[in-house]
């Protein structure tokens, strides 16, 4: 199948390579030519614009940073819509505001283009190992067409509901992971300040009701003081911003997510945005220590 892929960053690159290895012909466009380097040895053609990709592809995957980027690639000058053939399917795997996803989907539909929102969870490791969780919003018949391609990228693939529903699921995911990372960091800081070894606490807790993947994986990285991303703190801040924007739009109380979003503001504002979210621990240590 002729497949377009736009957004060849940490997440997009391994996913596009999975599609190529499954025997599909890739059509690529990237702002930076260097992003195309890893595709020299596979069946991939570089194009001059998103519109040119659309002229050659039946399905286009998009994996960019935020809603304005998706809108630019899909709908603005030289975007997908200006080159699309009828029946083209656009699959947005970026994490963006659910309401923005619905609007972009509706604008594409008005031009005869199908749209799925399909954000993912699992990080760069999950993308490389084709083990992502993929949460999809859109029409069931469109989902069925794309499903075999999703299966080359992920393990848990779920059609959540109508357009935007994938992004709602991802927002829920980010509430749980954001609050979860903050809770583990608080617990470890609490243990250490009480003179107790957080490693022993983690070991004990893994056997009980407080067990979670975050306690296991993020907890271990905190103990190792390994703050390399993983998932960058500024992206978590962005995702929590999306969650809170939706909460304000809906008039909805999310007190724990609200407090966690402020913690991430402080992490990014203190210059730790490029580090992993587990840098939350460093921030808590700093603000609970006596001023030097």
């Amino acid at each position: 199948m002729n497949i377009g892929f736009i957004g060849l960053g940490l997440m997009g690159r391994p996913l596009a390579l999975h599609l190529a290895r499954a025997g599909h012909a890739l059509h690529l466009w990237a702002r930076r030519p260097a992003s195309l380097e890893p595709f020299k040895d596979v069946d991939a053609r570089a194009h001059v614009s998103a519109a040119a990709v659309a002229r050659h592809a039946e399905i286009i995957f998009v994996m960019v940073a935020d809603a304005p980027d998706v809108r630019a690639v899909a709908l603005e000058e030289d975007g997908i819509a200006s080159g699309a053939r009828p029946g083209l399917i656009v699959v947005d795997m970026s994490t963006i505001n659910p309401n923005a996803a619905r609007e972009i989907g509706a604008e594409l539909a008005a031009k005869g283009i199908e749209f799925l929102d399909a954000p993912v969870s699992g990080g760069e490791i999950g993308a490389i190992n084709a083990a992502l969780t993929i949460m999809v919003g859109g029409k069931p018949e469109v989902f069925e067409k794309v499903k075999p391609l999703f299966e080359t990228m992920g393990k848990s693939i779920t059609l959540i509901g109508a357009s935007g529903a994938g992004q709602v699921a991802k927002a829920c995911n980010q509430i749980l992971t954001g609050v979860g990372v903050a809770a583990v960091a608080e617990a470890f800081n609490f243990a250490a300040k009480s003179g107790v070894d957080p490693a022993r606490v983690r070991e004990a807790l893994l056997g009980g009701f407080a067990y979670s993947k975050i306690l296991e994986n993020h907890g271990q990285r905190m103990l190792d003081r390994n703050f390399k991303p993983g998932f960058k703190a500024w992206m978590h801040q962005k995702d929590l911003r999306i969650v809170m924007e939706e909460a304000h739009r809906l008039g909805l109380m999310l007190p724990s997510a609200a407090a966690t979003a402020q913690l991430f503001n402080a992490i990014v504002g203190s210059g730790m945005g490029e580090e992993d979210s587990v840098a939350a621990l460093k921030l808590l240590e700093r603000i609970s220590a006596p001023e030097q």
Partner: protein, 290 residues
């Protein structure tokens, strides 16, 4: 001076009236022409469109609801305003939106000034508003005489957007104080103590404040008819929190207050007074459980 005014609501109409009374030539335009009648009867001129107003005026004032309203008016004004003229915006909008508008206007040789106000409709009528403005300081000479017709406390906060930052700080301090007042009222009631008496005692001490005076009285009387409708405070607070995220600054109290405002909206009290924050607390622990 030839002055235009768009946004003739509870704040805008008395402000425009003061400018007219000070002897300025006032031109008005409104989406609903009827809302201009009051000023037209007092000698204001009618413009057929925002662009027509821009061609006739050296200063165009706007006082509308949100960033999107100001941006849509600016799109119509920008091509018609002459170089050297000023778009003076009294609305409360996002600081970043004000900075961006100022940049766009500067390309046309027009100044955009963000000049949000505090003091409510009563302050607008009495010409006692606090006005905090952002823009080139050289504009003070032209703008100060106009500001003097409208308010008592006039502060040049800094460059473009600085007025909106000051207003964001104003909303942060004020609404957080309303929430603190509501929590005090809730605590007093739960302990079986009359909050009207608590408020009276507090007003004489270090916790005395204008918020405790005004909103405390409304809560004690359970009078939730608006002053300023709560949805506007909610809208302003969304901007405060967005700016905190932009700057990477944690506002833990701000975030909690925002949550209570979200709860107020969820309950359907957006068109009532912000003293409804008391009832948000009551929903979390209903009175019959006391």
């Amino acid at each position: 001076m030839n002055i235009g005014f768009i946004g003739l609501g509870g704040m805008g109409q008395p402000m425009a009236e003061h400018l007219l009374a000070a002897g300025h030539t006032l031109t008005v335009w409104a989406r609903r022409p009827a809302s201009a009648d009051f000023l037209l009867e007092r000698g204001a001129r009618w413009a057929e469109s925002p662009a027509a107003m821009a061609r006739a005026c050296e200063i165009v004032c706007t006082n509308v609801t949100g960033s999107a309203d100001v941006e849509s008016l600016a799109a119509q004004l920008i091509t018609a305003l002459k170089p050297g003229s000023v778009h003076l915006d009294f609305s409360t909008i996002a600081p970043q939106a004000a900075r961006e508008l100022s940049r766009r206007y500067a390309e046309k040789g027009v100044d955009f000034v963000d000049a949000p106000v505090s003091g409510g409709t009563a302050g607008a009528r009495a010409a006692t508003l606090a006005i905090m403005w952002g823009g080139k300081s050289a504009l003070a000479e032209r703008l100060d005489p106009l500001f003097a017709c409208l308010g008592k406390t006039i502060v040049h906060a800094g460059a473009s957007g600085a007025g909106q930052v000051a207003k964001a700080c104003n909303q942060l301090v004020m609404v957080a104080a309303i929430e603190a007042t509501a929590e005090a009222a809730r605590l007093a009631a739960a302990a079986g103590v009359d909050f009207a008496k608590v408020r009276q005692a507090l007003q004489g001490g270090s916790a005395g404040s204008r918020v405790l005076e005004f909103f405390g009285a409304k809560m004690a009387a359970r009078d939730f008819a608006p002053g300023v409708v709560a949805r506007l405070h909610h809208k302003d607070f969304v901007m405060v929190m967005a700016e905190a995220t932009r700057q990477g600054v944690p506002l833990p109290v701000g975030a909690t207050v925002m949550q209570q405002l979200d709860g107020l909206m969820a309950a359907g009290w957006g068109t009532e007074d912000t003293s409804r924050l008391l009832c948000v607390l009551e929903r979390a622990r209903p009175a019959h459980l006391i």
